[in-house]
C-alpha cells in the first residue's frame, strides 16, 4: 500500500549540529525540531506544543535562539545548530549554566529545562550585543551591553514556559553565570 503512494517531496540539506556535519534527505515538511529528534536522535530538544508557544524546543541556530518547532529544516541548509547536548563541548564537564541549574534546583520534571538553558544562553548574548527588551530603560544608549537585572532576565525568558514553576530558581541560575 505504501509503496504505491507517491513519495512526499524531499530535499537534501547539510547542517552542522553540535560541531558535526550531517547531510540528510528530508521531507520538506520536516521541522528542525523533528529533524533533531527523529533523524539525529538528539531528543534533548523537547516538543511541548509544536506551535512556538512554550519554548521547550529552543536551540541555537547560528548562535541565535530559535523555536526549532517553527523552522522548516529545508530552509536551514548550511546552518550551524547547537542543542542542549552540544553545550558542554567535548568535555565531561557540563556548561556552567547547566551546573548552575543543578546548584539552584532550577527544574523539576526537566522537560522545559533544555529549552530554558539554550534560551538563556542566547539571551545573555543578545543582551551583551545591546539588544533592548520591553523592560529596558529607553534612555539606555543603544548598542551597548544591557545589564541583566532580574526583571530583564524574567522578561527575556518569558518565551520559555515551566509548568512546574521553577522560575525563581532559573533566574538565580542565570544570575550565577553572568556575575
Amino acid at each position: 500500500m505504501t509503496s504505491a503512494n507517491k513519495p512526499a517531496p524531499d530535499s537534501e540539506i547539510t547542517l552542522r549540529v553540535n560541531g558535526k556535519p550531517h547531510t540528510l534527505h528530508i521531507d520538506n515538511r520536516r521541522t528542525l525540531l523533528d529533524l533533531l529528534r527523529e533523524d539525529l536522535g538528539l531528543t534533548g530538544s523537547k516538543k511541548g506544543c509544536d506551535h512556538g508557544q512554550c519554548g521547550a524546543c529552543t536551540v541555537l541556530a547560528d548562535g541565535r535562539r530559535v523555536n526549532s518547532c517553527l523552522l522548516l529544516a529545508v530552509a536551514l541548509d548550511g546552518s550551524e545548530i547547537t542543542t542542549v547536548e552540544g553545550l558542554g563541548g567535548d568535555g565531561e564537564e557540563p556548561h556552567p549554566l547547566q551546573r548552575a541549574f543543578l546548584d539552584r534546583d532550577a527544574f523539576q520534571c526537566g522537560y522545559c529545562t533544555p529549552g530554558q538553558i539554550c534560551s538563556a544562553i542566547g539571551m545573555i548574548a543578545e543582551a551583551a550585543a545591546g539588544h533592548p527588551s520591553q523592560v529596558t530603560d529607553p534612555a539606555t544608549p543603544s548598542g551597548r551591553p544591557v545589564p541583566l537585572d532580574r526583571s530583564e532576565i524574567r522578561e527575556r525568558l518569558s518565551g520559555n514556559l515551566c509548568r512546574c514553576g521553577a522560575y525563581p530558581r532559573i533566574v538565580e541560575a542565570v544570575e550565577d553565570v553572568i556575575r
Partner: protein, 699 residues
C-alpha cells in the same frame, strides 16, 4: 551524618541527565521500525459517527493504517469509560477520538489524520453549567470517596440567627493541567508481550489497566516511565494515548508512538471542573463562627461521574456549631473532568478563604486573627482529633515575616501613582494520607545498597528522597544507596498522586531497609556474592484506619499592585509557610511548594478556560490562549516551613507537599486585590478586563 540524611538538601539524582538532555521521556525510545500515530477528534459535541472515509488518508505517502470505530481492536470494557476509544460510534463530547492515523513519519501521520473524512449525525448538546440546571443532582460520593453531603447542627437556622452574615457566590472556571510534556506513549508488541513507555504518574496502574483491556496476564506487560514531564494529576491514571498506541502497534505490527498534540489535551486528558460555590458564614460580633455553609455545583461528562470535592475543606478548617458541606453535579456534553493539582481543595479553599476575608471585613477584624479565633480543637466534619495542626503557627510566622502588622487594613489605602497596592492572606490545607506499597532493599558485598520500587518521578525528586529514607533507616551515607524506580518489573507501588507518593513509597522503603539493617546486624562474615535482600509490603498498615484527622496546613501571604489604568494585576510578593510534618529534602521540597504557588498564581490571575455554547468545545486550547504563568509573571516567591513532629503518620513523620502550595494561593491574591481596590471580585481569573470593568463601575 547518617541520621541527618533525611531532610538534607540533597541534589536530584537525575539532575545531570535532565540538564544535558540525556533523560529520556516516553516519545524518545527509537525502537526499530517505529511508526507515529495521530488522533482524529470528533467534529461534533454530541452524536454518532455514521461514516469514516479513510481512502484519501490511505492514499497519502507513508501512511500505514487508519483505525476507526469499525475496525479497531476490540477491548474489554474498561472501568474508566474514557479509555473505551474507537469501540463504538457514539460521540459524547468534542475532541473524543473517532479515528487514529498511523504512518511512517510524524508529517505523514498528521497529514493522514487531516485527510480522514468523518461524518457524524449530530445531536443537540448542552455544555452550560448552571446551578439551577434540571439535571443537577446530589452525588452520594465525591472524588476521593468523600460523602457528597455532611451536615450537622441546624445550619440554615444558625445562619439566619447569626449576628454577622456573609452570603456570597464564587466561580472558578475550567482549568487545564498542561504539563510541559504532552501525554505520550510508545508501544511495542513482541508476540503477546506488550511493552509501553508512557508518560504516567504510576506505571503499576497502567499495567493493570492494559492487562484488563487487552485481556492479558499482567506479567506479559512491561510499563516504563523513567522520566515524566509533569502531570499535575492529568497522568494519574492511564489516558487514551497508551491504549491507542497499544492498539495501533498491534494493528500495524510496528512499534508506535502517540504523542498527543497540545491542542488535543484539554478535551482528552481531563480538566479541573468549573465550580459555582455558595458560601454562607455566620458569626458572633467577636468573630466566632456560628454557621459554615459551603454548597458547590460542578459539571461532569456523560462518560463518567467525576465530582470535584470543593466543599470538603469546610469539614476541616474552622470550628462552628453548625456545618453544611454539600455538592451538586450536572452531567453535560463536556469532556470528562479529572484530577488537577489539589482537586477539591484548590477551588474550595479559594471560595472559603475569600469568604473568610469578606467576613473579616464585615466584622472589622484582622483576617489573621479571625482564622486564629476559629481554629478548632477537633476536625469539624468528623469530630476526630488532629494528628497535628499548626495552622495558627503558620499564620503567626507568615505574618511576622511578611510584615503583616504594618498593614493598614483599610481597602484602597495605599497607592503608587496609578497603582493600587494591597496585601492578602489565606490558609491552606491538604490531607496527609498513604496507601500500601511494596519495596525491596539489597545489601551488596561492596558496601552499597540497592533499593527497588515502582515509584514514579514526575518532577518531585522521588529517586533522591527515597535514597534519603533508605540511608536513614540503614544508617549509612546516602551516596551508598542506589534507587531504581519507574519500571513495572520493580516491586509494585501506587502512583504519584494525592500527595501520597513519598509517604507511601517511603514507608515501604523504610520497612525494607529497617529489616535489612537488623538482618545485617545479626550477620557475621562477608556477604554472599548477590548480597542480602529484604522485601516489605505495607498493606494493612499504610491503609489502616486512623483515629486521627491527618492534614497538612499552611498560610499564604500576597502583595499585589493593581494598575488602575489598565486593570492589570501584578504580583509583588508571595510567601507560603507550611506545617507539613517532617520535610524530607529541603531543596526539592522548597521547589514543590513554590512551584505549586506559581500554579496558584496562574489560577488567580491568568488561567481560565471557557466552554463555547455553540460548538461545545473549549475555546482556550493552546498555550497562547490558555495562559500559564510565564517568567515575567512570577516575582519573588518564598516558601518555608515550621518544624512539625507528628508520630501518627508514617515512619518518616512526613506529610505530602506536592499540592498544598496551590491551595489558598488564589484566595490570598484575590484578597490582596480586594485590599488594593476595595472591590470584591468573585470570578476567576482576575484578568484586566474584569478588574477594569469593576474599577470603572465601582471606583
Amino acid at each position: 551524618m547518617t541520621a541527618t540524611s533525611l531532610g538534607a538538601p540533597v541534589e536530584r539524582r537525575e539532575g545531570r541527565q535532565k540538564v544535558t538532555g540525556a533523560a529520556r521521556y516516553a516519545a524518545e525510545y527509537h525502537l526499530p521500525g517505529r511508526a507515529h500515530a495521530w488522533p482524529v477528534p470528533a467534529p461534533v459535541a454530541r452524536g454518532r459517527v455514521t461514516a469514516v472515509d479513510t481512502s484519501a488518508a490511505l492514499a497519502l505517502p507513508g501512511v500505514l493504517a487508519v483505525l476507526t470505530p469499525d475496525d479497531a481492536p476490540r477491548l474489554a470494557e474498561p472501568e474508566d469509560a474514557t479509555l473505551a476509544v474507537l469501540q463504538g460510534p457514539d460521540v459524547p463530547h468534542r475532541g473524543w477520538c473517532v479515528a487514529l492515523a498511523v504512518a511512517e513519519t510524524l508529517e505523514a501521520a498528521r497529514a493522514a489524520a487531516r485527510a480522514v473524512r468523518v461524518t457524524c449525525a449530530a445531536e443537540p448538546h448542552d455544555v452550560g453549567l448552571d446551578p439551577g440546571h434540571r439535571d443537577a443532582y446530589e452525588p452520594k460520593e465525591t472524588n476521593a470517596g468523600y460523602p457528597g453531603r455532611v451536615e450537622h447542627g441546624d445550619p440554615q437556622a444558625a445562619f439566619a440567627a447569626a449576628e454577622v452574615r456573609v452570603d456570597t457566590v464564587y466561580r472558578v472556571p475550567p482549568l487545564h493541567n498542561h504539563p510541559m510534556e504532552p501525554h505520550t506513549s510508545t508501544a511495542h508488541w513482541d508476540g503477546d508481550r506488550l511493552t509501553v513507555y508512557t508518560s504516567s504518574q504510576g506505571g503499576t496502574t497502567v499495567r493493570s489497566v492494559l492487562a484488563q483491556l487487552f485481556r492479558l496476564p499482567e506479567d506479559t506487560i512491561t510499563v516504563v516511565s523513567e522520566h515524566v514531564g509533569g502531570g499535575f494529576g492529568s497522568k494519574g491514571t492511564p489516558r487514551p494515548d497508551v491504549v491507542l498506541a497499544a492498539m495501533a502497534a498491534r494493528h500495524t505490527g510496528r512499534p508506535v508512538t502517540l504523542a498527543y498534540p497540545r491542542r488535543s489535551l484539554p478535551t482528552t486528558v481531563g480538566h479541573r471542573a468549573p465550580t459555582v460555590q455558595r458560601l454562607r458564614l455566620g458569626a458572633h460580633t467577636d468573630g466566632r463562627l456560628t454557621a459554615v455553609l459551603h454548597e458547590t455545583t460542578t459539571h461532569t461528562s456523560r462518560v463518567k461521574a467525576f465530582v470535584e470535592q470543593a466543599a470538603v475543606p469546610a469539614r476541616v478548617m474552622y470550628a462552628a456549631p453548625a456545618l453544611l458541606s454539600s455538592h451538586r453535579v450536572v452531567p453535560l456534553d463536556v469532556p470528562s473532568p479529572s484530577w488537577m493539582r489539589a482537586p477539591g481543595e484548590a477551588p474550595g479553599m479559594y471560595a472559603l478563604e475569600s469568604a473568610m476575608d469578606e467576613l473579616a471585613d464585615a466584622l472589622g477584624m484582622d483576617p489573621v486573627e479571625l482564622r486564629v479565633r476559629n481554629d478548632p480543637e477537633c476536625e469539624p466534619g468528623s469530630g476526630k482529633p488532629f494528628s497535628s495542626r499548626h495552622l495558627v503557627e503558620c499564620l503567626r510566622e507568615g505574618a511576622r515575616r511578611f510584615g503583616w502588622a504594618e498593614r493598614d487594613p483599610r481597602p484602597r489605602s495605599r497607592t503608587e501613582g496609578p497603582l493600587l497596592i494591597g496585601t492578602g492572606v489565606a490558609a491552606a490545607t491538604y490531607p496527609a494520607a498513604a496507601v500500601p506499597a511494596t519495596a525491596s532493599a539489597r545489601a551488596l558485598p561492596d558496601g552499597t545498597f540497592a533499593v527497588r520500587i515502582n515509584a514514579t518521578d514526575i518532577g518531585t525528586g522521588a529517586r533522591t528522597v527515597l535514597a534519603q529514607v533508605a540511608a536513614d533507616a540503614l544508617a549509612v551515607p546516602v551516596d551508598r544507596v542506589g534507587t531504581e524506580i519507574g519500571h513495572s518489573d520493580l516491586p509494585p507501588a501506587w502512583l504519584a498522586g494525592g500527595s501520597m507518593g513519598t509517604a507511601s513509597w517511603g514507608w515501604a522503603v523504610h520497612e525494607a531497609c529497617a529489616e535489612l539493617a537488623s538482618r545485617l546486624a545479626a550477620h557475621t562474615g562477608p556477604l554472599p556474592a548477590d548480597g542480602i535482600e529484604t522485601r516489605a509490603d505495607t498493606a494493612g498498615r499504610a491503609d489502616a484506619d486512623s483515629p486521627y484527622a491527618r492534614h497538612a496546613f499552611g498560610a499564604h501571604f500576597a502583595e499585589v499592585a493593581v494598575d488602575s489604568v489598565t486593570g492589570e494585576t501584578r504580583v509583588r510578593r508571595l510567601l507560603g509557610i507550611y506545617a507539613a510534618g517532617r520535610i524530607l529534602n529541603a531543596r526539592t521540597a522548597r521547589s514543590q511548594f513554590t512551584g505549586a504557588m506559581t500554579m496558584g498564581l496562574g489560577m488567580a490571575l491568568t488561567e481560565g478556560s471557557t466552554l463555547d455554547p455553540a460548538f461545545g468545545d473549549f475555546t482556550e486550547t493552546d498555550l497562547a490562549s490558555y495562559h500559564v504563568p510565564a517568567h515575567a509573571d512570577v516575582p519573588a516567591i518564598e516558601a518555608d516551613w515550621i518544624d512539625e513532629e507528628d508520630p501518627h503518620l508514617n515512619p518518616m513523620g512526613s506529610k505530602g507537599i506536592g499540592e498544598i502550595g496551590i491551595v489558598g494561593t488564589a484566595a490570598a491574591l484575590g484578597n490582596a486585590v480586594h485590599h488594593a481596590t476595595g472591590i470584591r471580585f468573585r470570578h476567576l481569573p482576575l484578568t484586566p478586563d474584569r478588574i477594569l470593568t469593576g474599577l470603572l463601575a465601582g471606583g
